[in-house]
């Protein structure tokens, strides 16, 4: 079994009929990088949240399984689940501005997790944090450990969040649009950093993004989502050579590509949208009659 296996996962808002996720299945093998691609509202972040056990309270699991390292997370009591996830998985969040507590120094924000979840002593946690800050190419780690978030730039903060995600040597990292808020030049540095760390540590990575350009640089496989449904699941090379699903093709044609000004940024044809909506409705018909 792959390291992470999501099977037929369906979610909905408590008390409402339409599903947020429609029987989603996907897997991430050890050390694999899989992209989760979709437009806003497609449910891609929701999958990441379900895996990390941080779904909003108003959302419930209708059916499905989430297997992490051979254990079915959804069948576990909450405390045991939290311990497993804390030890084996981590998150690189989207917004480096709000993901760090503005009134605490950087150091403890990285080491807390090591001390509280893994039971390390403070000195060991601190030397680990220093080493990680060095690994994410922060020049004066000792000074940054004592700094407050507002004293650092957006790119710096994103590096710290990456260091923090890798701190407990997780086997799986969910990266939720980690470079959306950054300039392209900084984005490039950060993406290469994540990719390099992922390779060195052999971590599996679930990379949530809306940007197919980023997917082609960082990932090995991808799942394309529309309205909470996986419409295509393919290796990256095959996908970019020839996407199978009409919606995926339209999405790729709509993606900006300055080397091909005529062939890119093509509006998604209405027929394609109608067809994929009909597909979703057909799937709903099976469940709701």
């Amino acid at each position: 079994m792959p390291f992470l296996q999501v099977s037929n996962l369906s979610l909905r808002i408590i008390g409402e009929t339409p599903r947020l996720l429609r029987s989603v299945s996907l897997s991430v093998g050890a050390g694999e990088v899989r992209a989760l691609v979709g437009e806003s509202g497609a449910g891609k972040s929701m999958i990441g949240k379900a895996i990390l056990g941080i779904l909003p309270r108003a959302v419930e699991v209708v059916e499905g399984e989430v297997w992490l390292d051979g254990q079915n997370l959804l069948a576990m009591p909450p405390m045991a689940r939290r311990r497993i996830i804390g030890a084996k998985a981590a998150l690189i969040p989207q917004d480096p501005l709000t993901a760090l507590n503005p009134s605490r120094r950087i150091g403890p924000q990285i080491t807390d997790r090591l001390v509280h979840i893994l039971g390390w002593d403070r000195a060991r946690a601190e030397s680990r944090a220093l080493a990680l800050l060095e690994e994410v190419q922060i020049t004066d780690p000792a000074r940054v450990m004592r700094a407050y978030p507002h004293e650092l730039s957006g790119g710096m903060r994103q590096r710290i969040l990456i260091a923090s995600a890798f701190a407990a040597e997780p086997k799986l990292i969910v990266a939720d649009e980690p470079t959306t808020a950054l300039d392209v030049t900084v984005q490039k540095q950060i993406l290469r950093l994540i990719k390099g760390m992922q390779e060195r540590h052999g971590t599996a990575l679930l990379f949530v993004t809306h940007d197919l350009g980023v997917v082609s640089k960082v990932c090995q496989s991808l799942s394309v989502l529309y309205a909470g449904m996986v419409v295509e699941d393919a290796p990256v090379r095959d996908f970019f050579a020839a996407p199978r699903h009409a919606y995926s093709r339209a999405l790729l044609a709509a993606t900006p590509k300055y080397t091909d000004p005529e062939g890119s940024l093509t509006p998604v044809p209405q027929t394609v949208m109608d067809a994929v909506r009909a597909e979703v409705a057909a799937a709903d018909g099976v469940w709701h009659g």
Partner: protein
Amino acid sequence: MVDLTDGRGRVRRRAGVRLWLSGLWLGLLVVVALLAPWIAPKDPLAQDLFLGRLPPFWVAGSEPGYWLGTDSLGRDVLSRIMHGARIALLVALIAGTVTGLLGATLGLLAGFLRGWVDVVISRMIDIWMAFPPVLFSILLIAVLGPGLTSIIIAIVVIDWTRFARVIRAEAMAQGAMDYVASSRVAGRGRLGTMVEEILPNVLPTIVVLLTLEMGIAVIVEAILSFVNLSISTDDPTWGGMIAEGRSAIHQSWWVLVFPLATLFLTVLSFSQLGEGLKDRFDPVLR
């Protein structure tokens, strides 16, 4: 799209009940206040020493007709509460509205126009807030002399800062939004933008503050009556009744408890009404 982060759906359903209950209580109070002279069972000022300290109707020794008992002078507690509602609501309505208008206007001007207008108004707020409000009001009443008008003036003069501070901060936050820039691109003047664009967006906050302020006005009036600085001591007020009831708490608890409970329910209803109205009529939340 549904907001998944805070389960607002459930909060809203409770807001409906809240609005309904608080509205019911306040509506009842308004009717009672308007019709008090005709529907009060007894004359609130009539004394009868033979009927002093009668307990409420369910306690042994009560007299029919005196539902909530009588005080030490034999005056009917229920009738006095009903007549007291007149003054309480009058103060709430007038003082609340005037305070709200004054404070919100100054807050809007300071927060949106900024510059020297803001400097002047903000300094005034700072200075005002440094006075202890209860002492300030007692001082004011001492200067103005007791009476309904004095109480209202005292509440307005002291409490406008409550509005001004909050509305100023809101107006500043709204002023940074692009729809304000857009209004300027369209060529609208500063005051026009303030009224057309900012005001509708701070209105829900003003409504909430307004209802809170009405509750506060009821309390302030009660406090001033309690320290005997309100209107003439003959007219029944809730604060006056609480003051009188306090001295006789061991002999006749009902003289204290009933006006106190009425006061509590009224203030609570005002604040719940504001929150409920905001949730109900805010198009952005809906």
